[in-house]
């Protein structure tokens, strides 16, 4: 076992093994907790090592079981996947601590053993597999592992409301999965391989019509998972009903895994020189539809869910520009968006815990009763709106610069839409701020959701506050390290546009290619 193999396989293998162990430990919640935190910390360290190694030595490749392409499964970490993995594991760890603090992790329904910890670890294994895989079929498997875990988490406790939300979510996700599986079958039919390094050469030799069809099918199936308008309808309906930490981790990661898969497949398999008109239009529409939806919602979680949809558009915009600068901007935005969404949803979870409701009509004056919580929300909201010097500003700036550099009329139009969407984001979040946080506090008015009644006037546990603060601090760290981070994303974008380098890393005689 070489160092590369160990480093690349650990983020998938460790959580899976720990999930099995955790299921056995379910009589003892304390041991489950210790196990999950230990494993996540280990994976975090592994991801950090991987990032350093990838940046200094070059892509790390593992051929699972010694089987080489096209037969075997290839795991590969390049700069984009290493960065995405590190941020993802960090957020997963922070949210786990929040969940432990909230007590949701060990809440049992009808004497069923607590499945939160095992499922949560499986979720991380799936996310890591999508980030690290080097072939299309394993990407499908990674998505399935992640989604099956998410089906369990979103219906946790199986209350009436969650069963309803779970149905929409599961049926929508399954449709996307079947579409992805069919696409994988078609790709294998015309090329005879599913290894992405081999495909990046093979697909360009196909007739242009076939290429376009495969590209669109991949975009559509992954677009459902990424909640790209018009394929986003399932998201604002289902996410808000899950327990707060689950919503936070879904919002931070699941859609971004879809965005990552879109970026990976489109740059590697269907490289473009010119801006991509279709995706530019879709990105612009995504930004507007999401934020307009957010402006009228009453439930805090739903405001944030629509906002999430809106900001998926920014990352797609970066990809659609089809330049190195655009890809670098999209990567930077990805990192920012993962951290800020986690922070916002954790803050919303604390609001719901403290006041027993997340309805804007019933909330008032949180700034007086819980100034720290209000501060956490305020900083994250400004970051999402793109106020300098926060991380959102850095991400948006690099995207807009890329758009101006490309100078195509449509790109500039979408850039203007992006500015408008940022303004509307601020407007929507300030509406939340004025309704829920500002003013004099009212007595807590619980709404009629049974779970909320249980939580009324429970001050958030110290661990919840600490982990929500940590999530905000991670966001601030992204802003503080904007310089090194943006030069790293530049290098990551160089990797993405250099398909030859990726191919030789996976297929070449020398497993570790020189950068």
């Amino acid at each position: 076992v070489t160092a590369a193999t160990a480093l690349v396989s650990a983020p998938v293998a460790l959580p899976l093994l720990a999930a099995g162990l955790s299921l056995l430990l379910s009589p003892s919640p304390v041991l489950q907790r210790v196990l999950a935190v230990t494993v996540l910390t280990a994976v975090l360290g592994d991801a950090a090592l991987l990032l350093v190694r990838v940046d200094t030595v070059g892509p790390q490749v593992a051929h699972v079981g010694g089987w080489h392409p096209p037969l075997g499964i290839t795991l590969i970490a390049d700069r984009l996947s290493a960065l995405a993995l590190l941020v993802a594991v960090l957020v997963v760890l922070v949210v786990l601590l929040f969940a432990v603090g909230q007590g949701i992790a060990e809440r049992r329904a009808e004497n069923v053993p607590s499945v939160f910890h095992p499922t949560y670890l499986v979720l991380l294994a799936g996310i890591s597999l999508v980030f690290l895989t080097g072939d299309l079929f394993t990407m499908y498997v990674g998505f399935e592992v992640m989604l099956i875990a998410s089906y369990v988490l979103i219906t946790l406790g199986a209350t009436a409301e969650r069963v309803r939300a779970g149905m929409t979510y599961i049926v929508a996700s399954l449709t996307a999965s079947i579409l992805l599986l069919t696409t994988v079958g078609l790709v294998y039919g015309v090329t005879g391989t599913v290894n992405m390094a081999q495909l990046s050469g093979a697909i360009s030799e196909l007739p242009p019509d076939v290429q376009r069809l495969l590209g669109l099918m991949l975009l559509a199936s992954l677009g459902i998972k990424a909640a790209m308008v018009p394929l986003h309808w399932w998201l604002p309906d289902s996410y808000p009903n899950a327990p707060a930490p689950v919503t936070a981790v879904f919002a931070a990661l699941l859609t971004k895994v879809g965005v990552y898969a879109i970026i990976r497949t489109q740059t590697l398999l269907f490289p473009r020189e010119e801006p991509w008109t279709l995706l530019l239009v879709l990105a612009g529409v995504t930004m507007l539809v999401g934020v307009l939806g957010a402006l009228v919602q009453d439930d805090l979680n739903r405001v944030l869910s629509f906002m999430l949809v809106s900001h998926i558009g920014f990352m797609l915009f970066g990809l659609a520009i089809s330049s190195q600068a655009g890809l670098a901007g999209a990567t930077l935005y990805l990192v920012h968006h993962i951290t800020v969404q986690a922070a916002l949803f954790l803050a919303a979870g604390m609001v719901e815990r403290e006041r027993g409701t997340a309805s804007l009509a019933r909330l008032r004056g949180i700034v007086v009763t819980a100034p720290l919580l209000a501060g956490l929300f305020f900083v994250s909201a400004l970051s999402l709106g793109g106020i300098p010097p926060l991380a959102g500003f850095v991400g948006k700036l690099s995207l807009l610069q890329a758009a101006v550099d490309s100078a195509a009329p449509l790109t500039l139009t979408v850039a203007a839409v992006a500015l408008l969407a940022s303004l509307l984001t601020l407007a929507a979040l300030m509406r939340v701020w004025l309704a829920a946080f500002w003013g004099l506090p009212s007595a807590p008015v619980p709404d009629d959701r049974p779970e909320d009644l249980a939580d009324v006037a429970t001050p958030p546990a110290r661990l919840m506050t600490a982990s929500a603060t940590a999530a905000v601090l991670v966001g601030l760290a992204v802003a503080a390290s904007a310089g090194p981070l943006s030069s790293y994303t530049q290098r990551a974008a160089d990797d993405l546009t250099d398909q030859q380098h990726y191919r030789s890393s996976v297929l070449g005689e020398q497993v570790v290619a020189q950068p």
Partner: protein, 126 residues
């Protein structure tokens, strides 16, 4: 690249058409049946992508040209296991839905209806 089996292609078409129709139904049980059909369709696509049927691919007994392509079969097997697991989970969900809602119809989004009512109320006030 490969010659395509017409009969299988038609079956895939029928499975996808039937699956899509059922998936759009309100009752979860019908959606599940639709998902099962779609899953079969996708698996057939995978099997077909390996080309025409051949002899069992034993390394020392069958020549490479005569043997069936084992890779898509391995992928189809993986996909079958996944769809099986998800179908079981969906059936459990449908059962739970009958327990809490009384039926397995996918309900409207309550928050949407609330917003709508709020909107109508505001308009009536004006």
């Amino acid at each position: 690249m490969n010659t395509t089996n017409l009969a299988l292609s038609l079956i895939v078409g029928v499975l996808f058409a039937g699956g899509t129709y059922l998936l759009l139904e309100r009752a979860l049980l019908r959606s599940i049946l639709g998902f099962v059909l779609l899953g079969h369709g996708a698996n057939l696509v995978l099997i077909m992508s390996g080309g025409s049927a051949g002899k069992p691919p034993f390394a020392d007994k069958t020549g490479a040209a005569a043997a069936a392509d084992p890779l898509p079969q391995a992928m189809a097997l993986t996909a079958v296991v996944i769809t099986f697991a998800v179908t079981a989970l969906l059936l459990a969900l449908a059962d739970r839905s009958v327990a809490v809602h009384g039926d397995d119809e996918v309900q409207d989004d309550i928050e949407d209806r609330l917003l709508e009512r709020q909107q109508t109320a505001t308009e009536e006030e004006l």
